[in-house]
Symmetry: C2
Subunit: 500 residues, 2 copies
């Protein structure tokens, strides 16, 4: 066997597979931004065709054989080659270990389950959705068994979204966070309230919002030769190196919604743009995990984007863009208004302090139902109890309670924790950046974002999938991931803000 | 053999092939409208992958065998089935008769030839392009031979773009046209000149141009649930039933450019939108030819869009959209300005009277070089002589002469005549519409476009590929296609306009 030749063939084949994914990205982006309504029927078939093509590519017997031959002699490969081999093998294993019948059944059930969830949510009737969720849990357990996680089905789910994570690892992080965060939230909620009525009096024309947002993300390093921004009902980032696209939803009555969502998605995009060119379309050129992705989006959105220093730099421009709306609003009032902490029923509307409690409760619930420790029928009550305990809210219904998120209906179990892990990772990276670069507030206040982005590029982006997410964070920061840096960040920021 | 089952399988397979084409359309549309610059490298590979997939689909041996079995018993099929079979067979034959080596060589040569043309045009140096054109002609002749047109290579070229057309058919139409048109053009050019300085004094904001254009094409019947409009460097229409997209280039200094291009592309789009739903993605649900497509775009752009009656209806709205620009411009002045006849060097800038002479000269030249009657080296002089003879212009260089169009560099030989045939077909359809509906000017002046569109739907759009283009025109109008209706149209319109 000529190892180098084998390896090159494997990589060429994998790049073809990635090419198919890129086509899928364009079709999905188009569907959610510009596609005319009547294009939907054909688009669904187009995507099914592309999905089938991708799956056939990834499971091509000749290539799977080549992959396994190479895996048997991997000690003789270079370190880079071993990383690519390991990650390609992980993906191929996933695609080959689960029987086709099960894949198809999950896919069929997902469509039905999602439709049932839409109806159940509209009618505020959890019982209508319950049997579909129960079946989804069964199917995910069957999948876990096929993947070799028979005894730890939730680990299989985590491994899909956050490779290298296990239930004990996530549980420790999130329990530790919850124990510190619940009293902190209660303390903030007991403090004086800030007011945003001052900045909400006048409408903000959408073209001006867009222009300002584009200027901001451009300053942060978003390369418009390598990406673009469009409008969609729900903001998202799609695409990869060379072609990374973000979308925004605008609200004329509240510029905060579009502004911070744009910075958030730009954070995702900057990660993709920062991946190493020389490894494009191979694992060494791909983002490592959802949590690390979220660490980037949240870092740019919250750590930088909602800081006083950031607005010290940008607020004069913002006032110039919206003179009648913000002319009489002092910087500090604006800063307070973009950092209001208030308990909310709805996760996607939550502030950065309470947000993670929404995630913790979802993690606890999904972990429990995957372990068979709670019956599906009991989920609404369990949800209410936790919302009351963590956020001190009495949930008025299930539509805005256990039925509020689309994830479980689509089989996305094990996805939620990546949001909070992203917040924790981001805060841990922040402390190391401060140790290396000094007070990044001063850089932000001067509009000097390049050193911060370059730090992220060097310690996160350029590594691709070289390490697992937790290894990467440990290497970048010198410490195992914990909840402490995030709690320090909250205390440091919200202590003065709320006179705690 | 179960004929119905065989036929159904064939259609399902062909629809899969069309699905691949639809994916290609989305990728091409995106490339020419929104794709970031750095997306190009991967996009070229994505399109190559999709092209390869389409070609493999179309030449799948099991399906080609099924097709031929069905063709052997086609007398037993329904009429609809026979049409689909005939057209699918035509496409499959094209894809299978030409050896792969030749297909690949043409594809490689096209890339080189196009690059050489770009350089030659920039440097105004025909000699740089000449060997590439000579090789392109050789390759197209080899292709013609493979397709069974060894003795009539230009027929093979025509058959590709305008199935059912032959050189004698096209030659007769175009020679007849030339003989009548050259003296007519000379008469117009000898008449008084009209003036457009009145409407060009002020800039026309692009968002207003776009808004007005969208309103106009909406009134003409463009369905925005089934299509959309975007901006690109060169206007085009792409997509099919359910998802038809047009693009526009805007010029702030001259609203005529965007306006008539939008109506032109909308004419193409209305054809696609008018194809029969029940035959979607099969030949019975596809446009019949480029010339018939052009008959639709030109009919809407010129016959309706540049008529006095059309502007009797729309001009008040246009003035309201551009009060400072057009407030003082009377309807008749505007009408004259959008119908100025002036000889030009450049085809794409030509008016509807002189336009077809640009085509006639290209047809005469490409017919001659495909027949080996003229050497490539002699083309620049031949071009100059014809431009002088037909348009009375002394061509100052080759860049705006024989090098002006991209077509030949991309192997598009036999494409030009479809533009003029479209104009002739459109004029012939117009006379029959007038015979059936009465003076369509009155309908236009009232903004009642539905009867006109419905006539086109019934007599052209809904027929798909049931007949060849010339059969379709003959059935729709009761007469074989000739140049006479077009000449009558010109005389009727430009006689009064220029006091001929």
């Amino acid at each position: 066997m000529d190892r180098q030749k084998h390896y090159d063939e494997l990589i060429a084949w994998y790049k073809d597979f990635q090419l198919v994914s890129r086509i899928s990205s364009v079709l999905q982006w188009d569907q959610r931004t510009y596609m005319p309504k009547l294009g939907m029927a054909s688009r669904a078939e187009q995507l099914a065709l592309i999905d089938g093509l991708a799956h056939r590519k990834l499971t091509e017997p000749a290539m799977v054989a080549k992959l396994n031959e190479l895996a048997a002699v991997q000690a003789e490969l270079s370190e880079d080659q071993r990383v690519n081999l390991r990650e390609i093998k992980r993906e191929v294993d996933r695609a080959t270990k689960v029987p086709n019948d099960l894949v198809e059944e999950i896919s069929r059930h997902t469509a039905k389950s999602n439709a049932a969830w839409v109806e159940a949510r509209e009618a505020d009737n959890f019982n209508h959705f319950a049997p579909f969720l129960a079946r989804m849990i069964e199917l995910r357990k069957l999948e876990a068994a096929a993947l070799g996680f028979a005894d730890r089905p939730y680990d299989a789910a985590l491994d899909l979204f956050e490779p290298g994570s296990t239930e004990p690892y996530v549980r420790k992080l999130l329990e530790d966070l919850r124990q510190r965060l619940v009293p902190f939230v209660h303390k903030v909620l007991g403090a004086e309230k800030h007011d945003d009525s001052l900045i909400l009096r006048e409408p903000f024309p959408i073209d001006k919002q867009r222009e300002f947002g584009l200027m901001v993300i451009g300053k942060l390093g978003f390369n418009f030769d390598e990406g673009r921004q469009d409008i969609s009902a729900h903001p998202f980032t799609i695409g990869s190196k060379g072609d990374v696209r973000i979308t925004t939803r605008f609200n004329e009555r509240d510029l905060r919604q579009s502004l911070f969502a744009m910075i958030h998605e730009a954070g995702h995009a900057l990660y993709e743009m920062g991946l190493p060119d020389e490894h494009v379309d191979t694992p060494l050129g791909q983002s490592v995990s959802l949590a690390v992705h979220e660490s980037q989006s949240r870092f740019f959105e919250n750590t930088l984007g909602r800081s006083l220093a950031f607005w010290t730099y940008f607020y004069p421009d913002l006032k110039a863009a919206f003179p009648t709306q913000l002319g009489g609003v002092p910087l500090l009032k604006f800063y307070e208004a973009v950092n209001i902490v208030a308990p909310s029923l709805i996760r996607v509307e939550a502030d950065e302090v309470t947000y993670n409690l929404h995630i913790v409760l979802r993690f606890e619930i999904e972990r429990a139902f995957m372990a068979g420790e709670v019956a599906v029928a009991d989920l609404p009550d369990l949800w209410r109890a936790k919302v009351k305990q963590y956020l001190d809210i009495d949930a008025p219904n299930d539509a805005d309670g256990v039925l509020q998120d689309v994830h479980w209906s689509e089989g996305l179990i094990g996805y939620f924790p990546t949001y909070t892990m992203g917040n924790l990772y981001g805060a841990q990276l922040r402390e190391k950046i401060m140790a290396d670069l000094g007070d990044i507030g001063v850089l932000c206040a001067r509009g000097e974002f390049a050193p911060i982005l370059n730090w992220m590029r060097e310690h996160v982006h350029r590594l691709g999938k070289r390490y697992t997410a937790n290894e990467l964070i440990e290497r970048a920061t010198g410490k195992k991931p914990t909840a402490e840096p995030f709690m320090r960040y909250l205390a440091e920021k919200y202590g003065p803000l709320y006179h705690l």
